[in-house]
């Protein structure tokens, strides 16, 4: 202990931790906080708990994936080892579905990255009029599930859809465009834009203006400057491409709605079909799962290869922050026009399609005078319409709360591991999380159905199949990686010395955390909770595979209603749910503003 010459020295016994000084591989002296050694039992208990969670959540997926090459091990066929399911997945209609998935994924990734980069540069470098509004729209786009956008477009352009009902004529070219590959690519791409925007704008923010000024001063014209900037954005661009590609090929919502309606098969839909059809073809589904994951891994590897071996370390803290320049005249008009067109196509049209469909009666009542609120009235009167909303609300509250709490723990371990450059548990956890992000929800769901339905598992007394508990576990497994990723950045920014200082001055572990970390991260935690909450409330793939009979979550109810031609009912339920989410977000933000101490809000994120 230092500080012994302090006027009021801290009694050593009240400080439960010791400062250890270690010398790492670089020979530099490093100080870190370690708990006293007596807690190895606690550590064992923690490890067991983590192991149990991993077993419950991820082991089923492993079993499901293994069935592709060893059907007999799970009682699904004759062969102990075979590549036949893989071979059949790579032929005929599933091959077509995989190719469609890969091609639409690449197209969506390229389009989303281009738009996302343009938006990131526009928002980071210029004073866009109505910037707050556009940012809100981006968040809305991030939260809106793909099936919502797909449904909106479909309801608008269908033969008996809203446009046909309003105009009285069938707009064939639009229908053919929407209900085909172009529509699928557009929905996936526009859904990917917020991801691409976030990936690139982080880099844009870190760049500052000096690099571009340096190019100008040394003789670069407009295009040379753009080339320099794009070159420096490369890490952001590659991760945007990888993220959007992974998101696009894992997407189930478009496959189940727009693509299914357009007879444009894609892999996730084919996989779900193989599991839910009778008789279920688990080896075939698992083979598709393998191939999907290979595609995701391929994207991640490409990103790694592209950025490896080059240091993009930008000298942070020294850069002159970029002062956004005002947009004038033609450029202003151009920027506003482009923003309007994009958000109209990505958000406005689908929202209009959904809302107007909920206001028109079913079976395309042909004139505009037939707008009615009847469907909304029914949502609150019919238990089969309101029930799913309330069920999903419950599920989302539970899963978001647990996911953010556990995600915070994981993020803390990861952040500390990254800081200490320690191998072992932290890097293993990191790998697991990366794997879980790469795992399409549909594969997760299929894995749960398969494993918890195995006679051997039920014989062990594990009766999870067909219960709400399993759905909650699935939703949690899907949300955990994202939640911890969301929080990781914030945790990485908090210096170890902050809680350390609290403890040196007499606070216990819990108090130190509550008085130093919690205030700093309260904004991030709140946002992570809200995002997870909204995402889980509208979740489709896991819900559709794991819901117990008679207890349909929201997304399942909506797609079922629409498939049963109750367009008004289905879209009205969706609109009510979205309004509910907005109300929760608004209430949470207002409460935070009113109740949180002023110091907490200083660190609030956008």
């Amino acid at each position: 202990m230092t500080a012994t010459d302090h006027s009021a020295p801290v009694p050593v016994r009240t400080v439960p931790s010791t400062v250890e000084s270690t010398v790492d591989g670089t020979g530099r002296r490093r100080f870190s906080w370690r708990r006293p050694a007596a807690t190895s039992l606690t550590r064992l208990a923690w490890s067991l708990a983590v192991l149990a969670v991993v077993l419950v959540m991820l082991a089923p997926v492993l079993g499901f994936l293994l069935v592709a090459i060893s059907p007999r091990a799970f009682g699904q066929g004759d062969a102990w080892f075979t590549l036949a399911p893989l071979a059949s997945a790579l032929s005929g209609s599933t091959l077509q579905a995989l190719l469609n998935t890969a091609i639409t994924g690449v197209c969506a990734a390229v389009i989303a990255t281009a738009i996302g980069t343009a938006l990131a540069l526009l928002f980071g470098r210029t004073q866009v009029p109505l910037a707050g509004f556009w940012r809100l729209a981006l968040w809305a786009l991030l939260l809106a599930p793909s099936y919502l956008e797909a449904l909106g477009w479909t309801r608008l352009a269908e033969r008996d859809g809203v446009l046909a009902a309003l105009s009285g004529t069938d707009i064939t070219w639009l229908r053919q465009l929407v209900m085909g590959p172009a529509g699928v690519v557009w929905v996936l791409a526009s859904r990917g834009v917020p991801f691409a925007f976030l990936a690139v704008s982080g880099v844009v923010r870190g760049l500052g203006r000096d690099y571009e000024d340096a190019a100008r001063v040394h003789g670069a014209g407009r295009w040379s400057r753009l080339r320099i900037t794009i070159g420096m954005l490369a890490p952001g661009l590659w991760s945007a491409l990888a993220i959007v590609f992974a998101e696009a090929i894992s997407d189930y919502g478009v496959g189940a709605t727009l693509a299914a309606g357009a007879n444009f098969p894609i892999a996730t839909y084919a996989l779900a079909g193989a599991v839910t059809n009778f008789p279920a073809d688990y080896p075939g589904a698992a083979a598709i799962g393998w191939l999907l994951m290979v595609l995701v891994l391929f994207a991640l590897l490409a990103q790694r290869m592209a950025t490896r071996g080059r240091s993009y370390a930008v000298l942070s803290g020294r850069s002159r922050p970029c002062r956004p320049v005002p947009l004038r005249g033609g450029r202003r008009v151009l920027a506003l026009g482009a923003l309007c067109v994009f958000f109209l196509l990505a958000l406005g049209v689908p929202a209009f399609g959904t809302v107007s469909a909920s206001l028109l009666g079913n079976f395309g009542s042909a004139d505009a005078s037939s707008f009615t609120l009847q469907a909304y009235q029914q949502v609150f009167e019919r238990s089969d319409l309101l029930g799913p909303v309330l069920l999903s609300l419950r599920l989302a509250l539970i899963t978001a709360t647990i996911a953010v709490a556990a995600g915070a723990l994981i993020a803390r371990v990861l952040a500390r591991g990254a800081r200490a450059r320690r191998g072992g548990a932290a890097s293993l956890l990191d790998l697991l999380m990366l794997g879980a992000v790469a795992l399409p929800a549909i594969v997760l769901g299929a894995g749960y159905i398969f494993t918890y339905n195995l006679p051997a598992v039920t014989a062990l007394g594990i009766q999870l199949y067909g219960t709400l508990t399993l759905l909650v576990i699935g939703l949690l497994a899907g949300a955990l990686p994202q939640a911890s990723r969301l929080l990781m950045g914030s945790f990485a920014q908090v210096q170890d010395s902050l809680p350390a200082a609290a403890r040196v001055h007499g606070a216990g572990a819990a108090r130190a955390w509550g008085t130093t970390i919690l205030p700093l991260l309260s904004g991030s935690l709140l946002w992570a909770w809200l995002l997870t909450f909204a995402d889980r409330l509208l979740e489709l793939p896991l819900a559709s595979m794991l819901y117990p009979p008679g207890q349909e979550p929201l997304a399942v109810a909506v797609t079922t209603l629409i498939a049963g031609y109750d367009f008004a009912g289905g879209t009205a339920v969706l609109v009510v749910a979205c309004l509910g989410i907005l109300a929760v977000i608004g209430a949470a933000l207002v409460l935070f503003r009113l109740l949180a101490p002023a110091g907490w809000r200083r660190w609030e994120q956008r």
Partner: protein, 376 residues
């Protein structure tokens, strides 16, 4: 541009506003071709903005900028940076992290299509800054000092006629700063280019400059040779910013040519007058550290005629040592006197804390100014 010779820089009446804040308020200055000009000022004084106006990164709202015979900024005319024949070292170096060191240095050559072997020229520039063999590395793999040298090579390689430095040494530690200052001085002068260099460090400014421009809140308050700035600061701000041992109250007794005689520190003191003073005025006595000298213990009787010969003027101030700091060549003392504190009082021997001493003030390094206590 192939001129290895510098251009004259002429700035007239430049105004730059950011919203309601005026960053540059009618600044005018002229630098001869090949001159090393240092702009000195605290943060927020506008020196960085002035540099960026010269570079063309910022547009002036009013006034004109001429580089040699070329008008580069006036009214709606604005020659973009890439057309001004510049080299510049940024405060954060701004080395492009995705390009190798060699590509960073070769960049200006490629843009100017100056012909010849680009790689060879870039290699030559790297050799000049002592980094030959570093070409294939990336900026992220270099130390701060090495990055700074790369930035210097990049600025020099295109043989610019105007070299701009934006606080290039502020991110380095003291030892490296001194070495790189010498390198910058030598290489920049060797290139023949006109240099505009900004810093908030007065010792750096005095060490480098042919001419110093001192900026305060967007105004150029003094533009002179370093010696003049030090001996005859234009106003109290310049005096304070360029280093003082003390800033003491006093009353003007009489004026004596360029000097004023003050009652202050309990004694009579002679000081250069900044002007605008009359007998009976309240004044401030500003003392340069170099103008102080400890003569002997305060308990010994003062000899008549000690200090400055003037009959009435004493110039010897009694005080007590409160702190002493070892500086290698000797010791810096902090001395309390009747009206305040003298800092940085140098002596080759150490006076123990608490000892009574007398400090002689040299009128050449003392400045008398009107009592306006609102500056800094």
């Amino acid at each position: 541009m192939n001129g290895s010779s510098g251009v004259a820089v002429k700035v007239s009446g430049v105004v730059k506003r950011f919203g309601t804040h005026t960053a540059l308020d009618t600044v005018s200055l002229t630098a001869e071709a090949g001159e090393f000009l240092v702009l000195l000022g605290p943060s927020g004084s506008g020196k960085s903005t002035l540099l960026r106006v010269l570079a063309g990164i910022e547009r002036a709202d009013e006034g004109r900028v001429m580089l040699g015979d070329t008008l580069v900024a006036e009214g709606n005319l604005h020659v973009p940076p890439e057309k001004r024949g510049l080299g510049m070292v940024f405060q954060d170096y701004a080395l492009w992290p995705h390009l190798t060191v060699a590509d960073n240095v070769a960049y200006p050559l490629r843009r100017k299509r100056s012909g010849g072997d680009v790689a060879e020229k870039a290699g030559g520039a790297l050799e000049k800054v002592g980094l030959s063999g570093y070409g294939k590395r990336y900026p992220g793999e270099l130390s701060g000092g090495e990055q700074q040298r790369v930035a210097l090579a990049r600025a020099l390689v295109g043989r610019p006629s105007l070299l701009l430095f934006d606080e290039p040494l502020s991110n380095l530690d003291a030892d490296l700063r001194e070495r790189l200052r010498v390198e910058i001085s030598t290489l920049a002068r060797e290139s023949g280019a006109t240099v505009v260099y900004i810093t908030h460090d007065q010792s750096e400014a005095f060490a480098l400059a042919d001419m110093i421009g001192v900026l305060e809140r967007g105004r150029l308050v003094q533009f002179d040779r370093p010696e003049t700035v030090y001996l005859s600061p234009a106003d109290p701000f310049v005096a304070r910013f360029t280093g003082l041992a003390a800033d003491l109250p006093g009353v003007v007794v009489r004026l004596d040519g360029e000097f004023a005689v003050l009652d202050g520190c309990g004694r009579r003191v002679r000081a250069r007058s900044m002007g605008g003073l009359a007998a009976g005025d309240a004044a401030r006595l500003l003392v340069r550290p170099a103008a102080t000298r400890i003569v002997r213990g305060g308990d010994e009787p003062a000899e008549p005629g000690d200090g400055v010969v003037d009959g009435v003027v004493d110039g010897v101030v009694p005080g007590t040592i409160v702190d002493v700091a070892y500086r290698g060549r000797g010791y810096d003392h902090v001395v309390t006197i009747s009206d305040g504190v003298l800092t940085g009082v140098f002596d080759e021997r150490a006076w123990p804390r608490g000892s009574a001493v007398r400090v002689v003030l040299d009128p050449q390094g003392c400045i008398a100014t009107g009592d306006v206590t609102n500056v800094m």
